[in-house]
Symmetry: C2
Subunit: 428 residues, 2 copies
Amino acid sequence: MVSMDFGSILIMLVVLIVLARAGSRVFDHFGVPGLIGEIVIGIVIANLVIGDWSLLGTLGISTGDDPSQNYEVVEIFAELGVIFLLFSVGLETKVKDLISVGKAAMLVAVLGVIIPFIAGFALIQVYDGNIHHAMFMGSAMVATSVGITARVIKDMRLMNSRESRIIIGAAVIDDILGMIVLAIVVGMTVSGEMSVSNIFVITAEAVLFVIAILAVALVAVPRIYGYFERRNRERFDRTGESHSGVNKLILAIAVCLGLSWFADMIGLAAIIGAFLGGMLLAEYAWEWKLEEKIEAITTLFISFFFLNVGMQVNLETLTSVPVIALAAAIILLAVISKYLGCSWGAKIGDRSLSKDSRSIIGFGMIPRGEVGIIVASIGLASGAMSSELYAVVVLMAVATTIIAPPLFARAFRKKYPTEYKLTQDDLV
Amino acid sequence: MVSMDFGSILIMLVVLIVLARAGSRVFDHFGVPGLIGEIVIGIVIANLVIGDWSLLGTLGISTGDDPSQNYEVVEIFAELGVIFLLFSVGLETKVKDLISVGKAAMLVAVLGVIIPFIAGFALIQVYDGNIHHAMFMGSAMVATSVGITARVIKDMRLMNSRESRIIIGAAVIDDILGMIVLAIVVGMTVSGEMSVSNIFVITAEAVLFVIAILAVALVAVPRIYGYFERRNRERFDRTGESHSGVNKLILAIAVCLGLSWFADMIGLAAIIGAFLGGMLLAEYAWEWKLEEKIEAITTLFISFFFLNVGMQVNLETLTSVPVIALAAAIILLAVISKYLGCSWGAKIGDRSLSKDSRSIIGFGMIPRGEVGIIVASIGLASGAMSSELYAVVVLMAVATTIIAPPLFARAFRKKYPTEYKLTQDDLV
């Protein structure tokens, strides 16, 4: 019990929570979504070096190849934060609502994958002519990180809008497609060949997982619930005890973390499992008072996710003019290609959507967050990507994450002027 | 962001949460406080070895000198769990109520420190005649770990009983006294001399810290609150906006972790800081709905604390007859000396307390938990304690933690037969 310097972890947590909150308040005050403030604070923390002194060092956070214990705590909190965030989004999403937007979500996802891939591939093919580089950049442009968008949707209390449902549904499908693209690219680049059976297995696993969860949510969960409901009623008639014996919050936490693990194990993002887990319990979330409890847990963790996004930015990489120019081009392309792909998908998928709604969907899918960085780091580890391009992908992931929320929030506010109320205090 | 095997951490968390819950339910079913079940599950997890296979290994938890990342997560969750638990106890404790039991709490603490110290010292002096061993054993017998008792009090919803307040107040004072005893023993054993000025500084720091918090709670907090209250009312009159701009939960988390860090830094237990932090906000806990939110966070973490207590037990140390005999004697002495010291202190300190009430207080102070283990590990590291005696202290700490709750719960139930309702489901 005494193997770690817990005091150092405690003070780091306090400093980070207070700084994140301050950043969030300042940005919020100027009408910019507070999470951008948290990301900016993360960038400042990671890059504040005065002579020999650095804020990271003072906080005991060393990142890089041999991260310190304190940085591991930041990473764990960040990951748990986005897992619980997506779980709470799932708690507000009923399966039927998601299925009702299925066709639109599918087209948004497919076009939102194809167009950014082509854009990234083409630009790097022209830039340095290395087909491996080009394929990894294409893959890194594909995956949407729905955590950022989910936070904005939750902040604005617009979980039940049709646009929100299409975005969330498309993000789930997008993640499966992104995984397939990555499998193809890794297969072709690293081993020099593409194993069709391997790709088929990965695809089948992911699709089966999602279908299985949907089926369980629609068929099994109501029956299990009904069984316990009846049993408790019978016991109540017999003994007068109303105590059901199941702690709902612990059940919810176990479902959330269990499905996150399972999704991670089969190669999907953990947050997709968390979202599906929330959806499993969505019918009972209100009755069990799950939402406010999960929100309290999310509050403790979530700022670390946004801080950590910012902490990935190494401002030193921004000193070479060609890298800056390339990064600017990639960022621009990442924003435009995703917006066009997704809003076009929305147009084909659901003719009833207005232009404003298509904009919301297009903007909502822009953030790449950590998913693009993970793709690039696989490329870097396998030698199929240069460290220069890796830095560009990190900048692209962070920049799309910063650019999207204000555009997205503004589009939402335009469409729903009265329902909108973006106050940080309401958040949790 | 990809430096850790997060999948392995997720599945470990799920397995531990589910096992702890199962253990808790089984023990609860047989009328034993559920936390004992969690401790027993911890013992089983740490000792389940079949041939080359061990459950710890499968879960990726290696403890010992070079703990694995997964075990560090368990430790952090355990520590945060007991911190948030004591914070929520503080949230239910108003300063005035605590001061009203001051005299009784002081006497309970003082006699509850002196008598166990003498008992432990005398036994080891007779056993092996080594005065350093004897002094460390005496110190390890002193400190009460209020986490266990706090959980039982919360489970039974008896936070507002006079006995509970005396126990909590005595635990705070006990921790300060324990720290002073440890400073004296370390000074005399390790450096061979005792620095009076050093002890004076430590004592003054601890006492000043507690007094400062009490003063802030009584004087400063109501004024700060009043100021913001007025400002918000004026703004509401002016603009119609009721939004105060301060996220109360984040404020509470920052106060909790900040004071935990500060207490740790000046040499007190972190949980004492957490408790005092909760007390600072006790007057507003209900209005800000803090209790249910902090309880949700506690639920996520707290089982890891009890699991980790159990995981300290190495059943292999229980193979030598002299060690078993010594451990049995120390455990018996630890239970009896604390019970007698504290119930005697309660008798002198508050003549109005009934025999039942004195029993509750005596039993409530028995658990040593992690504090005794920390004392012993300091002794072990400085060479003033043998590894055999260290194993005995660990057994004593775990055994007192297991023995106390049923006795305590039964005494409470006897005194408050109607108010009592011990259901795990109510817990959080």
